[in-house]
């Protein structure tokens, strides 16, 4: 597998955007200015980007409550996302969705989702639509280890095989469903082992390693596009923050996150590999870091200075038409 310089730069930029976005939302949440429930994706960037780098706007993804990373990876505009998280009228969803419901169908992003395991059935539908419309599109459902235990996910795996849908199911196993360890809540060693029961390939991949994810994703997406049916892929990875902002994370081991950050942070691994192999220079990466930092700073300023919805917005967009 070889990635062009521009693809490598794009991958790094996306992962850095997600990290910077999430770190900043974490800081801003602590100030009390961001309302509601927020679940951060920091640490898992290689998964969203490794998959979405293969996709175009016709391809669909469905995300989870931890959806910011998938949104950015799929091309949802950052200013709109930040405004949405601040509940502003110019947000991606006009301030009506918030962190858990960011969606942009024009970009093929069918929504973060407040219901664990809700995405896979929707993605079966997206795959079905692609089949009927013969547009060669694929559809990817991201779920967590928690979502992997939901009946909706298991039913969707069966349906995707029965209907031979161009779907990929990605189980992002970050070790915890809320505070409950996946070692306890998942009945088998690997979530991907369940694929065999549904007649599809199952693959386990190191979700910290962008290149490994990118390769596995590419194979599954190619097979799906060619009519070869669905795949279940488990990305084993870690989340750096709590289940939600405000989670004291007393269930985690001492220095658990620190050790992961030091040994297998996805951005660190990526940087090391591309610089050691002479694919990119540190200067190129530093330049992206600087640009992204400015971009996120600007998005926060933009969001904070943007207007909130008005009373006139409360009852709009409930229906397309309603007397």
């Amino acid at each position: 597998m070889s990635l062009s310089e521009s693809k490598l730069l794009q991958a790094y930029r996306k992962m850095r955007q997600i990290r910077a976005f999430e770190d900043r939302v974490h800081d801003e949440f602590a100030t009390g200015e961001i309302p509601g429930f927020v679940h951060l994706y920091a640490g898992e960037e290689a998964s969203a980007v490794g998959f979405c780098m293969h996709l175009n706007d016709e391809d669909r993804i469905a995300s989870t409550h931890r959806g910011h990373g998938h949104c950015i990876a799929k091309g949802v505009e950052i200013n709109g996302m930040m405004s949405e998280i601040y509940g502003r009228r110019n947000g991606t969803c006009a301030g009506k969705g918030g962190s858990m419901h960011i969606a942009d169908l024009e970009k093929g992003m069918m929504g973060a989702n407040g219901i664990v395991g809700a995405g896979p059935p929707l993605i079966c539908g997206a795959g079905l639509a692609a089949k009927f419309r013969k547009n060669g599109a694929v559809a990817i459902a991201f779920v967590g280890d928690g979502g992997s235990n939901q009946g909706t996910t298991l039913e969707s795996l069966n349906l995707a095989t029965v209907w031979n849908l161009p779907c990929i199911f990605v189980a992002e196993n970050n070790g915890y469903a809320e505070s409950t360890g996946s070692k306890w809540s998942v009945s088998c060693e690997n979530i991907a082992d369940r694929a065999a029961a549904f007649g599809m390939p199952g693959v386990v991949v190191d979700g910290h390693d962008f290149f490994a994810v990118y390769e596995v994703a590419g194979e599954a997406i190619k097979r799906a596009r060619e009519g070869g049916g669905p795949t279940l892929i488990e990305c084993k990875l870690n989340r750096y923050y709590g289940h939600f902002e405000g989670d004291a994370q007393t269930y985690r081991g001492v220095d658990e996150v620190k050790k992961v950050k030091e040994s297998k942070d996805c951005l660190m691994l990526f940087s090391k590999r591309v610089t050691e192999q002479g694919l990119l220079t540190q200067a190129q990466l530093d330049a992206i870091d600087k640009e992204v930092a400015a971009e996120i700073e600007a998005s926060v300023e933009h969001a904070k200075s943007s207007a909130k919805p008005t009373a006139a917005d409360l009852m709009t967009d409930v229906y397309v038409s309603y007397p």
Binding site: A103, L105, P121, G125, L159, Y322, P323
Partner: protein, 333 residues
């Protein structure tokens, strides 16, 4: 003489005509075709009670069988609707909503609002309602008030073959998610149905019988029970105006209130259980908006607050009867 069709065939014809007109219309459900993976004939069933029989020969793979997996395929229908298709998914019995409700009320119903107006979900969920076939507690309920409660959903309950065809065509063309409730006791009912395509707009109640003494609002199968009651009451000199709302969301309250302003009396007949029912809802809205027109309390005739029973003796007691409706009307005179 005008052509007659059964309620069931009227729905079938609406599906066939819309699927011929628009290639994005697809249908799916358990045994909607029937016979998949078996050695016998294809289209063996055409739905558990034969509503979709014969469509496979007309539209081929655009009508699909599903495994028994309501969460997955109702969700898939919602997802496909958000991706440019117009799916008609069959939730065999409305009683099965419990296994897939999230995909309807948290997903399909809310996409448009949650996503800031940028999503459209032209989904139709066809589903059987109602008692009368001794199908017992898990196959006989009228749970449409639960769907009516949900912002973002539209709820349609036809009472005649003519309405069934026209409302189904409107449901498919509508750009919002629609719950289309088919009373299983009406499937065999015959009535005049034009051969051509026609859509009946939502939010237009049908004044089924005119009368100046008492307004009787009745839904679905109850329209027929109310008409029976009205015929009996006419012999006693009481003239009922029977109104069929046809859709409970949106609800054509104007037509109901206009009638109540004339009669001053209202009976609402609803096969749902009484609490938080359409009867309770319509009573409350009329009381709030037309209190000064009322000459007496609004009467509700509903199923009792118990699950639908199996035994014929009990089920007959459970379903609102023309006698009970007439009794309620008489208390107002």
């Amino acid at each position: 003489m005008a052509r007659e069709l059964t309620f069931k065939d009227a729905i079938n014809e609406a599906l066939a005509q819309e699927m011929a007109r628009d290639e994005t219309v697809i249908a799916m459900g358990e045994d909607n075709v029937g016979g998949m993976g078996a050695e016998g004939e294809i289209d063996a069933w055409g739905g558990v009670l034969g509503v979709t029989k014969g469509l496979h020969a007309k539209v081929g793979d655009r009508i699909m069988d599903t495994p028994i997996t309501e969460s997955a395929f109702i969700g898939a229908a919602a997802g496909a609707a958000a991706c440019g298709m117009r799916p008609v998914a069959e939730l065999m019995f409305i009683d099965f909503m419990g296994v897939c409700f999230d995909q309807i009320f948290n997903q399909a119903a809310k996409f448009k609002y949650m996503f800031g107006g940028k999503a459209e979900t032209p989904l139709v969920v066809r589903t059987m309602i109602g008692a009368g076939l001794r199908a017992a507690s898990q196959h006989s309920q009228c749970l449409y008030p639960i769907f009516t409660h949900i912002p973002g959903l539209k709820v349609v309950i036809p009472s005649t073959p003519y309405d069934a065809k026209g409302l189904m065509i409107q449901s498919i063309r509508d750009n919002d998610p629609v719950i289309f409730c088919e009373h299983k006791s009406l499937y065999g009912l015959k009535g005049e149905v034009p051969e051509g395509s026609y859509a009946i707009p939502f939010n237009e109640a049908n004044v089924v019988r005119e009368g100046g003494d008492v307004t009787v609002v009745a839904i679905g199968m109850m329209v027929h029970k109310a008409l029976e009651a009205a015929t009996a009451l006419a012999k006693e000199g009481i003239q009922c105006e029977v109104i069929d709302p046809r859709t409970t969301s949106p609800l054509d309250l104007d037509t109901i209130i206009e009638s109540v302003e004339n009669t001053g009396r209202l009976v609402v007949v609803d096969e749902s259980n009484p609490r938080c029912s359409m009867a309770a809802d319509i009573s409350a809205q009329v009381t709030e908006q037309a209190f000064s027109s009322l000459k007496g309390p609004v009467r509700m005739v509903t199923a009792p607050h118990c699950p639908p029973p199996f035994s014929d003796v009990l089920e007959d007691l459970y379903i609102p009867s023309p006698e009970k409706i007439a009794e309620a009307v008489r208390t107002l005179k």
